[in-house]
Protein backbone atom coordinates (compact mmCIF):
# COMPACT_ATOMS: atom_id res chain seq x y z
CA UNK A 1 0.00 0.00 0.00
CA UNK A 2 1.06 3.58 -0.43
CA UNK A 3 1.61 5.42 2.80
CA UNK A 4 0.01 8.81 3.19
CA UNK A 5 2.52 10.97 4.99
CA UNK A 6 2.52 14.47 6.37
CA UNK A 7 5.71 16.19 7.35
CA UNK A 8 5.86 17.94 10.65
CA UNK A 9 8.53 20.47 11.53
CA UNK A 10 11.66 18.77 12.85
CA UNK A 11 13.15 19.73 16.16
CA UNK A 12 16.45 21.53 16.38
CA UNK A 13 18.36 19.00 18.44
CA UNK A 14 20.09 16.36 16.35
CA UNK A 15 17.85 17.06 13.39
CA UNK A 16 20.40 16.25 10.67
CA UNK A 17 21.13 12.74 11.87
CA UNK A 18 18.84 10.40 9.98
CA UNK A 19 18.99 6.66 9.46
CA UNK A 20 19.36 5.52 5.88
CA UNK A 21 20.12 2.20 4.20
CA UNK A 22 23.88 1.74 4.44
CA UNK A 23 24.31 -0.37 1.29
CA UNK A 24 25.14 -4.05 1.02
CA UNK A 25 28.94 -3.59 1.00
CA UNK A 26 28.77 -1.37 4.06
CA UNK A 27 26.52 -3.85 5.88
CA UNK A 28 28.85 -6.69 4.95
CA UNK A 29 31.94 -4.85 6.16
CA UNK A 30 30.26 -3.92 9.44
CA UNK A 31 29.15 -7.49 10.18
CA UNK A 32 32.47 -9.01 9.08
CA UNK A 33 34.36 -6.45 11.20
CA UNK A 34 32.38 -7.43 14.27
CA UNK A 35 33.00 -11.14 13.60
CA UNK A 36 36.74 -10.55 13.17
CA UNK A 37 37.00 -8.47 16.34
CA UNK A 38 35.47 -11.38 18.21
CA UNK A 39 38.15 -13.87 17.09
CA UNK A 40 40.96 -12.87 19.48
CA UNK A 41 38.41 -12.78 22.33
CA UNK A 42 37.50 -16.37 21.60
CA UNK A 43 40.86 -18.17 21.26
CA UNK A 44 39.23 -21.51 22.03
CA UNK A 45 37.61 -21.35 18.61
CA UNK A 46 40.90 -21.18 16.69
CA UNK A 47 43.71 -22.63 18.80
CA UNK A 48 42.48 -26.27 18.99
CA UNK A 49 42.08 -26.71 15.20
CA UNK A 50 45.59 -25.40 14.60
CA UNK A 51 46.99 -27.54 17.38
CA UNK A 52 45.26 -30.65 16.03
CA UNK A 53 46.47 -29.91 12.51
CA UNK A 54 50.09 -29.44 13.63
CA UNK A 55 49.94 -32.48 15.90
CA UNK A 56 48.67 -34.85 13.22
CA UNK A 57 51.00 -33.33 10.64
CA UNK A 58 54.01 -34.26 12.78
CA UNK A 59 52.66 -37.62 14.02
CA UNK A 60 51.55 -38.81 10.57
CA UNK A 61 54.90 -37.95 9.05
CA UNK A 62 56.68 -39.81 11.83
CA UNK A 63 54.36 -42.82 11.45
CA UNK A 64 54.04 -43.16 7.70
CA UNK A 65 57.02 -41.48 6.08
CA UNK A 66 59.14 -44.61 6.04
CA UNK A 67 56.44 -46.56 4.17
CA UNK A 68 56.50 -44.11 1.29
CA UNK A 69 60.05 -42.84 1.53
CA UNK A 70 61.50 -45.27 -1.01
CA UNK A 71 59.58 -43.71 -3.93
CA UNK A 72 61.98 -41.39 -5.73
CA UNK A 73 60.83 -37.79 -6.07
CA UNK A 74 57.95 -38.23 -3.62
CA UNK A 75 57.88 -36.17 -0.42
CA UNK A 76 55.49 -37.56 2.15
CA UNK A 77 55.82 -34.33 4.16
CA UNK A 78 54.54 -32.31 1.20
CA UNK A 79 51.85 -34.95 0.59
CA UNK A 80 50.66 -34.79 4.20
CA UNK A 81 50.65 -30.99 4.45
CA UNK A 82 47.44 -30.83 2.41
CA UNK A 83 45.71 -33.11 4.93
CA UNK A 84 47.02 -31.02 7.82
CA UNK A 85 45.72 -27.85 6.20
CA UNK A 86 42.26 -29.36 5.78
CA UNK A 87 42.26 -30.48 9.42
CA UNK A 88 43.14 -26.92 10.43
CA UNK A 89 40.61 -25.00 8.37
CA UNK A 90 37.62 -27.34 8.14
CA UNK A 91 34.90 -26.35 10.56
CA UNK A 92 36.38 -22.92 11.22
CA UNK A 93 33.37 -20.62 11.40
CA UNK A 94 31.61 -18.05 13.53
CA UNK A 95 28.48 -20.20 13.51
CA UNK A 96 28.67 -20.77 17.31
CA UNK A 97 28.67 -16.99 17.79
CA UNK A 98 25.56 -16.80 15.63
CA UNK A 99 23.92 -19.27 18.01
CA UNK A 100 24.89 -16.96 20.87
CA UNK A 101 23.28 -14.07 18.97
CA UNK A 102 20.07 -16.08 18.76
CA UNK A 103 20.19 -16.94 22.45
CA UNK A 104 20.96 -13.40 23.66
CA UNK A 105 18.38 -11.92 21.25
CA UNK A 106 21.17 -9.86 19.68
CA UNK A 107 20.05 -11.30 16.33
CA UNK A 108 16.71 -9.57 16.97
CA UNK A 109 18.56 -6.30 17.46
CA UNK A 110 20.32 -6.82 14.12
CA UNK A 111 17.02 -7.73 12.46
CA UNK A 112 15.50 -4.49 13.78
CA UNK A 113 18.06 -2.50 11.79
CA UNK A 114 17.82 -1.98 8.02
CA UNK A 115 20.70 -4.45 7.48
CA UNK A 116 20.18 -6.89 4.61
CA UNK A 117 19.50 -10.31 6.06
CA UNK A 118 21.95 -11.97 3.67
CA UNK A 119 24.67 -9.53 4.76
CA UNK A 120 24.45 -10.94 8.29
CA UNK A 121 25.37 -14.39 6.99
CA UNK A 122 27.83 -13.38 4.28
CA UNK A 123 29.54 -10.98 6.69
CA UNK A 124 30.23 -13.84 9.08
CA UNK A 125 31.47 -15.99 6.20
CA UNK A 126 33.78 -13.26 4.96
CA UNK A 127 35.38 -13.21 8.39
CA UNK A 128 35.64 -17.00 8.29
CA UNK A 129 37.59 -16.90 5.03
CA UNK A 130 40.02 -14.40 6.54
CA UNK A 131 40.46 -16.52 9.67
CA UNK A 132 40.94 -19.72 7.65
CA UNK A 133 43.57 -18.04 5.50
CA UNK A 134 45.39 -16.88 8.63
CA UNK A 135 45.25 -20.37 10.17
CA UNK A 136 47.08 -21.87 7.19
CA UNK A 137 50.15 -19.79 8.12
CA UNK A 138 51.51 -21.88 11.02
CA UNK A 139 51.07 -25.09 9.03
CA UNK A 140 52.78 -23.60 5.99
CA UNK A 141 55.62 -22.39 8.18
CA UNK A 142 56.05 -25.84 9.73
CA UNK A 143 55.92 -27.37 6.25
CA UNK A 144 58.64 -24.97 5.07
CA UNK A 145 60.79 -25.88 8.08
CA UNK A 146 60.32 -29.56 7.22
CA UNK A 147 61.39 -28.93 3.64
CA UNK A 148 58.16 -28.50 1.67
CA UNK A 149 58.67 -26.24 -1.36
CA UNK A 150 56.22 -24.66 -3.78
CA UNK A 151 57.65 -24.98 -7.27
CA UNK A 152 55.24 -22.29 -8.47
CA UNK A 153 56.63 -19.85 -5.89
CA UNK A 154 54.50 -17.29 -4.03
CA UNK A 155 51.65 -17.72 -6.52
CA UNK A 156 51.57 -21.39 -5.63
CA UNK A 157 51.37 -20.50 -1.93
CA UNK A 158 48.55 -18.07 -2.66
CA UNK A 159 46.67 -20.71 -4.67
CA UNK A 160 47.17 -23.21 -1.85
CA UNK A 161 45.80 -20.77 0.76
CA UNK A 162 42.94 -19.79 -1.54
CA UNK A 163 41.85 -23.39 -2.12
CA UNK A 164 42.02 -24.12 1.61
CA UNK A 165 40.03 -20.97 2.46
CA UNK A 166 37.37 -21.65 -0.15
CA UNK A 167 36.99 -25.18 1.18
CA UNK A 168 36.68 -23.80 4.71
CA UNK A 169 33.92 -21.48 3.49
CA UNK A 170 32.11 -24.27 1.62
CA UNK A 171 32.15 -26.50 4.69
CA UNK A 172 31.25 -23.62 7.07
CA UNK A 173 27.89 -23.42 5.33
CA UNK A 174 26.85 -26.64 7.12
CA UNK A 175 27.68 -25.08 10.50
CA UNK A 176 25.62 -21.97 9.75
CA UNK A 177 22.74 -24.10 8.50
CA UNK A 178 22.75 -26.06 11.77
CA UNK A 179 23.20 -22.88 13.85
CA UNK A 180 20.28 -21.10 12.24
CA UNK A 181 18.08 -24.17 12.10
CA UNK A 182 18.59 -25.33 15.69
CA UNK A 183 19.97 -22.36 17.65
CA UNK A 184 21.80 -25.07 19.60
CA UNK A 185 25.53 -24.64 20.35
CA UNK A 186 26.09 -28.36 20.95
CA UNK A 187 24.66 -29.21 17.54
CA UNK A 188 26.90 -26.62 15.89
CA UNK A 189 29.99 -27.90 17.69
CA UNK A 190 29.32 -31.37 16.36
CA UNK A 191 29.42 -30.13 12.76
CA UNK A 192 33.07 -31.22 12.54
CA UNK A 193 31.88 -34.82 12.85
CA UNK A 194 30.39 -34.40 9.37
CA UNK A 195 33.94 -34.03 8.10
CA UNK A 196 35.09 -37.41 9.42
CA UNK A 197 33.78 -39.52 6.52
CA UNK A 198 35.10 -36.92 4.09
CA UNK A 199 38.50 -37.06 5.79
CA UNK A 200 38.96 -40.79 6.24
CA UNK A 201 37.27 -42.16 3.11
CA UNK A 202 39.86 -40.58 0.89
CA UNK A 203 43.59 -40.33 0.22
CA UNK A 204 44.32 -38.37 3.41
CA UNK A 205 47.19 -40.55 4.54
CA UNK A 206 48.19 -42.59 1.52
CA UNK A 207 48.15 -41.91 -2.22
CA UNK A 208 44.99 -43.10 -3.95
CA UNK A 209 47.04 -45.67 -5.91
CA UNK A 210 47.83 -47.40 -2.62
CA UNK A 211 44.18 -47.79 -1.62
CA UNK A 212 42.32 -50.92 -2.60
CA UNK A 213 38.88 -52.51 -2.74
CA UNK A 214 35.79 -50.61 -1.67
CA UNK A 215 37.80 -47.74 -0.17
CA UNK A 216 39.36 -46.98 -3.53
CA UNK A 217 35.89 -46.91 -5.09
CA UNK A 218 34.39 -44.68 -2.39
CA UNK A 219 37.37 -42.32 -2.62
CA UNK A 220 36.37 -41.59 -6.20
CA UNK A 221 33.06 -40.16 -5.00
CA UNK A 222 34.55 -38.08 -2.19
CA UNK A 223 35.06 -34.39 -3.13
CA UNK A 224 37.89 -34.15 -0.61
CA UNK A 225 39.91 -36.54 -2.80
CA UNK A 226 39.92 -33.95 -5.59
CA UNK A 227 40.56 -31.10 -3.19
CA UNK A 228 43.58 -32.92 -1.80
CA UNK A 229 44.69 -33.64 -5.34
CA UNK A 230 44.58 -29.95 -6.21
CA UNK A 231 46.42 -28.90 -3.06
CA UNK A 232 49.08 -31.57 -3.51
CA UNK A 233 49.63 -30.64 -7.11
CA UNK A 234 50.99 -27.32 -5.83
CA UNK A 235 53.59 -28.90 -3.55
CA UNK A 236 54.40 -32.17 -5.37
CA UNK A 237 54.23 -31.09 -9.00
CA UNK A 238 56.89 -29.22 -10.88
CA UNK A 239 54.44 -27.20 -12.99
CA UNK A 240 50.90 -25.92 -12.59
CA UNK A 241 48.53 -28.91 -12.79
CA UNK A 242 45.50 -27.11 -14.19
CA UNK A 243 43.40 -30.25 -14.48
CA UNK A 244 43.83 -31.10 -10.81
CA UNK A 245 43.28 -27.53 -9.71
CA UNK A 246 40.11 -27.39 -11.79
CA UNK A 247 38.84 -30.63 -10.22
CA UNK A 248 39.54 -29.19 -6.76
CA UNK A 249 37.55 -26.05 -7.57
CA UNK A 250 34.63 -28.10 -8.90
CA UNK A 251 34.66 -30.26 -5.75
CA UNK A 252 34.59 -27.12 -3.57
CA UNK A 253 31.81 -25.65 -5.72
CA UNK A 254 29.64 -28.77 -5.36
CA UNK A 255 30.03 -28.92 -1.58
CA UNK A 256 29.58 -25.15 -1.36
CA UNK A 257 26.43 -25.23 -3.45
CA UNK A 258 24.87 -27.82 -1.15
CA UNK A 259 25.94 -26.13 2.11
CA UNK A 260 25.03 -22.60 0.99
CA UNK A 261 21.62 -23.75 -0.23
CA UNK A 262 21.08 -25.27 3.20
CA UNK A 263 22.30 -22.28 5.19
CA UNK A 264 20.43 -19.62 3.21
CA UNK A 265 17.29 -21.74 3.51
CA UNK A 266 17.94 -21.88 7.26
CA UNK A 267 18.38 -18.09 7.34
CA UNK A 268 15.05 -17.61 5.57
CA UNK A 269 13.51 -20.01 8.07
CA UNK A 270 15.06 -18.21 11.04
CA UNK A 271 13.91 -14.76 9.87
CA UNK A 272 10.45 -16.15 9.14
CA UNK A 273 10.40 -17.89 12.50
CA UNK A 274 11.45 -14.65 14.15
CA UNK A 275 8.47 -12.99 12.53
CA UNK A 276 6.09 -15.82 13.30
CA UNK A 277 7.27 -17.37 16.55
Amino acid sequence: MTAVTDTIAPVACGEEIRARPAGFGHDLAAIAGRALRAVPRDPAAVIPPVFIALFFFIVNIATLKKLTGHHPGFSYTAFEMATAILLGVTGISRAPSLVLDVQTHYLDRLLLTPVRRTAILIGHMTADVAVAAALTAPILVLGAILGVRFEAGPLGVAAFVLLASLWSLAFAGFGYAIALKTGNPAAVNSTFLLFFPFLFLTSSYLPRSQLSGWLSTVTGFNPVTYLLGGLRSLVLGTTWQWGQLGQALVAIAIVGLISMTMCFAALRGRVKRSSEA
Binding site: M1, A3, V4, T5, D6, T7, I8, A9, P10, V11, C13, G14, E16, I17, R18, A19, R20, P21, A22, G23, H26, D27, A30, G33, R34, R37, A38, R41, D42, S97, L100, D101, T104, H105, Y106, D108, R109, L110, L111, L112, T113, P114, V115, S274, S275, E276, A277
Partner: protein, 346 residues
Protein backbone atom coordinates in the same frame (compact mmCIF):
# COMPACT_ATOMS: atom_id res chain seq x y z
CA UNK B 1 -15.59 -0.24 28.85
CA UNK B 2 -16.55 1.11 25.43
CA UNK B 3 -17.51 4.39 27.10
CA UNK B 4 -14.04 4.62 28.55
CA UNK B 5 -12.42 4.09 25.18
CA UNK B 6 -14.57 6.62 23.38
CA UNK B 7 -14.14 9.14 26.16
CA UNK B 8 -10.41 8.73 25.95
CA UNK B 9 -10.30 9.19 22.20
CA UNK B 10 -12.25 12.43 22.40
CA UNK B 11 -9.86 13.89 24.96
CA UNK B 12 -6.86 16.07 24.18
CA UNK B 13 -3.72 14.66 25.79
CA UNK B 14 -0.94 16.89 27.00
CA UNK B 15 1.84 16.04 24.60
CA UNK B 16 5.46 16.97 24.02
CA UNK B 17 6.51 20.61 24.27
CA UNK B 18 8.83 20.17 21.32
CA UNK B 19 7.26 19.83 17.91
CA UNK B 20 6.42 16.20 17.21
CA UNK B 21 8.75 14.50 14.78
CA UNK B 22 8.30 14.15 11.05
CA UNK B 23 6.41 11.49 9.19
CA UNK B 24 3.03 10.42 10.39
CA UNK B 25 -0.03 8.78 8.91
CA UNK B 26 -3.09 11.00 9.03
CA UNK B 27 -1.67 12.60 12.17
CA UNK B 28 -0.78 9.31 13.84
CA UNK B 29 2.75 8.11 14.45
CA UNK B 30 1.35 4.65 15.24
CA UNK B 31 -1.92 3.42 13.86
CA UNK B 32 -3.36 -0.08 14.09
CA UNK B 33 -6.64 -1.54 13.00
CA UNK B 34 -7.95 -4.84 14.34
CA UNK B 35 -4.44 -6.15 14.86
CA UNK B 36 -4.46 -9.89 15.57
CA UNK B 37 -1.75 -12.39 16.41
CA UNK B 38 -2.28 -16.09 16.97
CA UNK B 39 0.20 -18.56 18.45
CA UNK B 40 -1.30 -21.88 17.49
CA UNK B 41 -4.71 -21.83 19.10
CA UNK B 42 -3.88 -18.93 21.42
CA UNK B 43 -5.13 -15.49 20.39
CA UNK B 44 -2.32 -13.45 22.00
CA UNK B 45 -3.43 -10.15 20.48
CA UNK B 46 -7.09 -9.80 19.68
CA UNK B 47 -8.32 -7.00 17.42
CA UNK B 48 -6.16 -4.29 18.95
CA UNK B 49 -6.73 -0.79 17.61
CA UNK B 50 -4.30 2.08 18.23
CA UNK B 51 -4.25 5.71 17.15
CA UNK B 52 -1.22 7.40 18.70
CA UNK B 53 -0.45 10.97 17.68
CA UNK B 54 3.12 12.03 16.97
CA UNK B 55 4.87 13.35 20.07
CA UNK B 56 2.83 11.35 22.57
CA UNK B 57 4.04 9.01 25.28
CA UNK B 58 1.62 6.11 25.11
CA UNK B 59 1.64 3.71 28.02
CA UNK B 60 0.60 0.15 27.24
CA UNK B 61 -0.30 -1.32 30.59
CA UNK B 62 -1.14 -4.89 31.37
CA UNK B 63 -0.09 -7.94 33.35
CA UNK B 64 2.36 -10.57 32.10
CA UNK B 65 0.90 -12.46 29.18
CA UNK B 66 -1.62 -9.76 28.31
CA UNK B 67 -0.18 -9.30 24.80
CA UNK B 68 2.00 -6.21 25.31
CA UNK B 69 5.27 -7.63 23.98
CA UNK B 70 3.53 -9.40 21.11
CA UNK B 71 1.95 -6.12 20.06
CA UNK B 72 5.32 -4.35 20.23
CA UNK B 73 7.03 -7.08 18.19
CA UNK B 74 4.39 -6.71 15.49
CA UNK B 75 4.66 -2.91 15.44
CA UNK B 76 8.46 -3.05 15.17
CA UNK B 77 8.41 -5.65 12.33
CA UNK B 78 9.83 -8.59 14.27
CA UNK B 79 6.55 -10.47 14.21
CA UNK B 80 4.10 -10.77 11.32
CA UNK B 81 0.49 -9.97 12.23
CA UNK B 82 -2.00 -12.78 11.73
CA UNK B 83 -4.68 -10.24 10.89
CA UNK B 84 -5.45 -6.54 10.74
CA UNK B 85 -2.91 -3.91 9.78
CA UNK B 86 -0.57 -1.45 11.43
CA UNK B 87 1.15 1.68 10.20
CA UNK B 88 4.22 3.02 11.98
CA UNK B 89 5.58 6.41 10.89
CA UNK B 90 3.18 6.15 7.97
CA UNK B 91 4.45 2.80 6.69
CA UNK B 92 2.81 -0.60 6.77
CA UNK B 93 4.68 -2.95 9.10
CA UNK B 94 3.85 -5.98 6.95
CA UNK B 95 4.57 -4.62 3.47
CA UNK B 96 7.10 -1.83 4.14
CA UNK B 97 9.16 -3.14 7.06
CA UNK B 98 12.40 -1.58 5.78
CA UNK B 99 10.89 1.92 5.88
CA UNK B 100 9.54 1.29 9.37
CA UNK B 101 12.94 0.07 10.65
CA UNK B 102 14.63 3.28 9.52
CA UNK B 103 12.28 5.35 11.65
CA UNK B 104 11.98 3.40 14.87
CA UNK B 105 14.20 2.59 17.82
CA UNK B 106 13.43 -0.43 19.94
CA UNK B 107 14.52 -1.56 23.39
CA UNK B 108 13.09 -5.02 23.85
CA UNK B 109 12.06 -6.58 27.14
CA UNK B 110 15.34 -8.52 27.40
CA UNK B 111 18.31 -6.27 26.68
CA UNK B 112 19.43 -7.57 23.28
CA UNK B 113 23.19 -7.17 23.58
CA UNK B 114 26.30 -9.07 22.55
CA UNK B 115 28.24 -9.81 25.77
CA UNK B 116 31.57 -10.07 23.96
CA UNK B 117 31.48 -6.64 22.34
CA UNK B 118 32.32 -3.50 24.27
CA UNK B 119 29.63 -0.86 24.69
CA UNK B 120 31.43 1.41 22.23
CA UNK B 121 31.72 -1.32 19.61
CA UNK B 122 28.06 -2.17 19.91
CA UNK B 123 26.93 1.44 19.50
CA UNK B 124 29.31 2.02 16.57
CA UNK B 125 28.06 -1.10 14.80
CA UNK B 126 24.45 0.01 15.34
CA UNK B 127 25.26 3.42 13.88
CA UNK B 128 27.00 1.92 10.85
CA UNK B 129 24.07 -0.38 10.11
CA UNK B 130 21.80 2.69 10.13
CA UNK B 131 24.06 4.34 7.56
CA UNK B 132 25.51 7.06 9.80
CA UNK B 133 28.71 8.71 8.60
CA UNK B 134 31.82 8.69 10.79
CA UNK B 135 31.19 12.32 11.75
CA UNK B 136 27.56 11.64 12.66
CA UNK B 137 28.59 8.56 14.56
CA UNK B 138 31.22 10.44 16.56
CA UNK B 139 28.70 13.11 17.50
CA UNK B 140 26.04 10.58 18.39
CA UNK B 141 28.50 8.57 20.49
CA UNK B 142 29.34 11.68 22.49
CA UNK B 143 25.65 12.50 23.02
CA UNK B 144 24.74 8.95 23.97
CA UNK B 145 27.77 8.65 26.24
CA UNK B 146 26.40 11.56 28.27
CA UNK B 147 22.92 10.15 28.16
CA UNK B 148 23.64 6.72 29.57
CA UNK B 149 26.46 7.81 31.88
CA UNK B 150 28.47 4.63 31.48
CA UNK B 151 31.76 6.51 31.31
CA UNK B 152 34.81 4.27 30.96
CA UNK B 153 32.61 1.19 31.15
CA UNK B 154 31.74 1.74 27.49
CA UNK B 155 35.20 0.39 26.71
CA UNK B 156 34.58 -2.82 28.66
CA UNK B 157 32.91 -6.02 27.37
CA UNK B 158 29.16 -5.87 27.88
CA UNK B 159 29.29 -9.21 29.68
CA UNK B 160 30.82 -7.38 32.66
CA UNK B 161 27.93 -4.88 32.96
CA UNK B 162 25.28 -4.89 35.69
CA UNK B 163 21.62 -5.28 34.74
CA UNK B 164 21.05 -1.52 34.99
CA UNK B 165 24.06 -0.73 32.81
CA UNK B 166 22.85 -3.20 30.17
CA UNK B 167 19.41 -1.58 30.17
CA UNK B 168 20.93 1.86 29.66
CA UNK B 169 23.18 0.62 26.87
CA UNK B 170 20.21 -1.09 25.23
CA UNK B 171 18.35 2.21 25.36
CA UNK B 172 21.31 4.00 23.77
CA UNK B 173 21.42 1.36 21.01
CA UNK B 174 17.75 2.06 20.33
CA UNK B 175 18.47 5.78 20.02
CA UNK B 176 21.74 5.79 18.07
CA UNK B 177 20.08 6.72 14.77
CA UNK B 178 17.88 9.40 16.33
CA UNK B 179 14.58 7.64 15.59
CA UNK B 180 11.18 9.31 15.29
CA UNK B 181 9.38 6.66 17.29
CA UNK B 182 10.78 4.66 20.19
CA UNK B 183 9.33 1.39 21.46
CA UNK B 184 10.32 0.61 25.02
CA UNK B 185 9.19 -2.82 26.12
CA UNK B 186 9.17 -2.82 29.92
CA UNK B 187 12.26 -0.62 30.11
CA UNK B 188 12.49 -0.59 33.89
CA UNK B 189 11.70 -4.20 34.71
CA UNK B 190 14.42 -5.50 37.00
CA UNK B 191 15.91 -2.06 37.73
CA UNK B 192 16.46 -0.67 41.20
CA UNK B 193 14.31 2.35 42.17
CA UNK B 194 17.09 4.89 41.52
CA UNK B 195 17.79 3.50 38.04
CA UNK B 196 14.08 3.40 37.33
CA UNK B 197 13.68 7.09 38.13
CA UNK B 198 16.67 7.91 35.93
CA UNK B 199 15.10 6.03 33.01
CA UNK B 200 11.81 7.85 33.58
CA UNK B 201 13.60 11.16 33.47
CA UNK B 202 15.31 10.20 30.22
CA UNK B 203 12.05 9.07 28.61
CA UNK B 204 10.51 12.45 29.48
CA UNK B 205 13.52 14.25 28.02
CA UNK B 206 13.39 12.28 24.78
CA UNK B 207 9.76 13.18 24.41
CA UNK B 208 9.84 16.79 25.55
CA UNK B 209 13.15 17.93 24.06
CA UNK B 210 13.44 15.74 21.00
CA UNK B 211 9.75 15.30 20.26
CA UNK B 212 10.03 11.52 20.00
CA UNK B 213 6.84 9.51 20.07
CA UNK B 214 7.22 6.84 22.72
CA UNK B 215 5.33 3.58 22.95
CA UNK B 216 6.01 2.26 26.40
CA UNK B 217 4.84 -1.09 27.67
CA UNK B 218 4.84 -1.61 31.38
CA UNK B 219 3.38 -3.72 34.13
CA UNK B 220 4.09 -0.99 36.66
CA UNK B 221 1.08 1.18 37.37
CA UNK B 222 3.06 4.09 38.74
CA UNK B 223 5.24 4.08 35.62
CA UNK B 224 2.25 4.47 33.31
CA UNK B 225 0.80 7.06 35.67
CA UNK B 226 4.04 9.07 35.84
CA UNK B 227 5.03 9.02 32.20
CA UNK B 228 2.17 8.42 29.82
CA UNK B 229 0.01 11.08 28.25
CA UNK B 230 -2.44 8.32 27.49
CA UNK B 231 -2.68 4.77 28.72
CA UNK B 232 -4.12 1.72 27.01
CA UNK B 233 -4.95 -1.13 29.35
CA UNK B 234 -4.63 -4.54 27.73
CA UNK B 235 -5.87 -7.79 29.19
CA UNK B 236 -6.02 -11.18 27.47
CA UNK B 237 -5.02 -9.62 24.16
CA UNK B 238 -7.72 -6.95 24.10
CA UNK B 239 -7.60 -3.26 24.96
CA UNK B 240 -10.13 -2.91 27.75
CA UNK B 241 -9.71 0.81 28.41
CA UNK B 242 -7.87 3.78 27.02
CA UNK B 243 -7.50 7.38 28.10
CA UNK B 244 -5.37 9.79 30.06
CA UNK B 245 -4.47 8.46 33.51
CA UNK B 246 -6.69 11.13 35.06
CA UNK B 247 -9.66 10.16 32.88
CA UNK B 248 -9.26 6.50 33.64
CA UNK B 249 -9.04 7.11 37.37
CA UNK B 250 -12.01 9.47 37.31
CA UNK B 251 -14.05 6.72 35.71
CA UNK B 252 -13.65 4.69 38.91
CA UNK B 253 -14.79 7.48 41.25
CA UNK B 254 -13.30 10.37 43.16
CA UNK B 255 -12.05 8.34 46.16
CA UNK B 256 -11.52 4.72 47.01
CA UNK B 257 -11.91 3.05 50.39
CA UNK B 258 -10.25 -0.33 50.68
CA UNK B 259 -11.16 -2.66 53.53
CA UNK B 260 -9.29 -5.91 54.18
CA UNK B 261 -11.29 -8.33 56.25
CA UNK B 262 -10.87 -11.63 58.01
CA UNK B 263 -13.41 -13.63 56.08
CA UNK B 264 -15.59 -13.39 53.02
CA UNK B 265 -15.98 -9.76 52.01
CA UNK B 266 -19.03 -10.49 49.87
CA UNK B 267 -21.10 -11.07 53.02
CA UNK B 268 -20.90 -7.44 54.14
CA UNK B 269 -21.28 -5.95 50.69
CA UNK B 270 -25.06 -5.29 50.97
CA UNK B 271 -24.54 -3.45 54.28
CA UNK B 272 -21.96 -1.14 52.77
CA UNK B 273 -23.98 -0.42 49.65
CA UNK B 274 -26.56 1.17 51.92
CA UNK B 275 -24.06 3.62 53.47
CA UNK B 276 -24.76 7.21 52.32
CA UNK B 277 -22.23 8.51 49.77
CA UNK B 278 -21.08 5.06 48.64
CA UNK B 279 -21.24 4.67 44.84
CA UNK B 280 -20.21 1.09 44.40
CA UNK B 281 -18.85 -1.84 46.39
CA UNK B 282 -16.85 -4.67 44.92
CA UNK B 283 -15.75 -7.73 46.84
CA UNK B 284 -12.60 -9.59 45.79
CA UNK B 285 -11.92 -12.43 48.22
CA UNK B 286 -11.31 -10.84 51.60
CA UNK B 287 -10.98 -7.35 50.13
CA UNK B 288 -13.66 -4.73 49.60
CA UNK B 289 -13.17 -1.84 47.20
CA UNK B 290 -15.64 0.96 47.84
CA UNK B 291 -15.83 3.95 45.49
CA UNK B 292 -17.28 7.22 46.68
CA UNK B 293 -17.48 10.83 45.60
CA UNK B 294 -16.20 12.09 48.96
CA UNK B 295 -14.05 9.61 50.83
CA UNK B 296 -13.58 11.75 53.94
CA UNK B 297 -17.34 12.01 54.43
CA UNK B 298 -18.09 8.36 53.65
CA UNK B 299 -15.34 6.59 55.59
CA UNK B 300 -16.92 7.00 59.01
CA UNK B 301 -20.17 5.47 57.76
CA UNK B 302 -18.24 2.62 56.20
CA UNK B 303 -16.30 2.03 59.44
CA UNK B 304 -19.52 1.97 61.50
CA UNK B 305 -21.17 -0.43 59.05
CA UNK B 306 -18.17 -2.75 59.15
CA UNK B 307 -18.03 -2.61 62.95
CA UNK B 308 -21.68 -3.68 63.05
CA UNK B 309 -21.04 -6.65 60.82
CA UNK B 310 -19.79 -9.99 62.07
CA UNK B 311 -16.54 -9.74 60.12
CA UNK B 312 -13.28 -8.51 61.66
CA UNK B 313 -11.56 -5.64 59.87
CA UNK B 314 -7.78 -5.96 59.39
CA UNK B 315 -7.29 -2.53 57.86
CA UNK B 316 -9.24 0.30 56.33
CA UNK B 317 -7.64 2.70 53.85
CA UNK B 318 -8.84 5.85 52.15
CA UNK B 319 -7.02 6.93 48.98
CA UNK B 320 -7.49 8.42 45.58
CA UNK B 321 -8.02 5.90 42.76
CA UNK B 322 -5.05 4.32 40.98
CA UNK B 323 -4.77 2.67 37.61
CA UNK B 324 -4.89 -0.61 39.48
CA UNK B 325 -8.42 0.31 40.59
CA UNK B 326 -9.27 0.85 36.93
CA UNK B 327 -7.76 -2.52 36.06
CA UNK B 328 -9.60 -4.11 38.97
CA UNK B 329 -12.92 -2.66 37.90
CA UNK B 330 -12.46 -3.79 34.31
CA UNK B 331 -11.00 -7.24 34.85
CA UNK B 332 -11.99 -8.18 38.38
CA UNK B 333 -8.43 -8.68 39.60
CA UNK B 334 -5.35 -6.68 40.57
CA UNK B 335 -2.63 -6.33 37.96
CA UNK B 336 0.08 -7.48 40.36
CA UNK B 337 -1.96 -10.55 41.24
CA UNK B 338 -2.25 -11.42 37.56
CA UNK B 339 1.50 -11.02 37.14
CA UNK B 340 2.12 -13.71 39.67
CA UNK B 341 -0.36 -16.05 38.00
CA UNK B 342 0.68 -15.79 34.36
CA UNK B 343 3.72 -16.14 32.18
CA UNK B 344 4.05 -13.97 29.10
CA UNK B 345 3.80 -16.33 26.07
CA UNK B 346 5.75 -13.91 23.92
Amino acid sequence: MSTLISAARSSTPEIAQAAPRRTVHAGHAIYAEALVRHFGGLRAVDEVGLAIPAGEIYGFLGPNGAGKSTTVRMLCTLLAPTGGRALVAGYDVATQPGQVRLRIGVALQDAALDPKQTGTELLRLQGRLYGLSSRELARRMAELGELIELGDALGRPIGTYSGGMKRRLDLAAALVHNPEIVFLDEPTTGLDPASRIRVWSEIRRLNQQLGMTIFLTTQYLEEADELAHRVGIIDQGRIVAEGTPAELKRSVGSDVIVARLDGDAARVRPVLEAVPGVRSVEAHGSELVITTGDGAAAISGVAVALAGSAVAVRDLTLRTPTLDDVFLELTGTHIERKNTQQEDPS
